[in-house]
């Protein structure tokens, strides 16, 4: 019975202690502690979400740089291709030009050669004609040295000529 009879003294002191405790701790301990805990949790949460965001940003940037790299690569390829094309075109042009020029020169040369040949031929013809005349003069001189021969020839010629 003694054990389960609350004594007024302890009831009083417990009440006083508890009220003091809840007042003092509530005001000076629990409030700042809970606030600090909440703040810290929030800051951790914030930091985590910020990190997440940074990560996303990083991935985005990575993607972007990848994209840029890809574009740059494409650009480079394009430039290279263009350069190659230009080079090829230039070479082709040069080739064509050379060919045309060469052909032109060849034609010119051929013409020249022809002209020269013609000139040479004309020369040769002239010389041959001269020589032939000389030869014919000499042969005729030689043939028609005596009179008989001249007469026979004239006779022959006259024989051939029939008056028609």
């Amino acid at each position: 019975m003694e054990l389960v009879t609350p004594s007024i003294g302890l009831v009083f002191w417990t009440t006083v202690s508890f009220l003091i405790l809840i007042f003092v701790l509530g005001k000076f301990a629990w409030k700042p502690i809970m606030k600090a805990l909440d703040d810290r949790e929030r800051s951790i949460e914030d930091a985590l979400s910020a990190a997440e965001k940074a990560k996303e940003e990083l991935t985005r940037l990575n993607n972007e740089s990848e994209q840029l790299l890809k574009e740059a690569r494409a650009e480079r390829d394009k430039i290279l291709k263009d350069a190659k094309d230009i080079k090829d075109a230039t070479i082709a042009d040069a080739k064509n030009l050379a060919k045309v020029e060469g052909e032109k020169m060849i034609t010119k040369a051929k013409e020249e050669i022809n002209n020269q040949k013609m000139a040479a031929l004309a020369e040769v013809k002239n010389q041959v004609a001269g020589l032939s005349l000389e030869i014919a003069e000499k042969v005729l001189k030689h043939q028609l040295e005596d009179k008989s021969k001249q007469e026979s020839l004239v006779n022959d010629l006259l024989k051939d000529v029939k008056l028609n």
């Binding site: 019975m1 003694e2 054990l3 389960v4």
Partner: protein, 68 residues
Amino acid sequence: MTGSIAAIGAGLAAIGAGIGIGRIGGSAMEGMARQPEAASKIQAAMIIAAAFVEAVSLFAVVVALLGN
């Protein structure tokens, strides 16, 4: 004499509480074995249930002390 009778009654209450807590513990373990992922929830519920049952036996302690 009254004290002894109160003690016998309290002992009977303790038997009841023992069976009760035993069943709670047993079922909780079964539940935990079946669903280990819910172990912490089962444990909390088990402690509360056991506390309720235990309170009955503790009432009996008080009765025994009152019978003094």
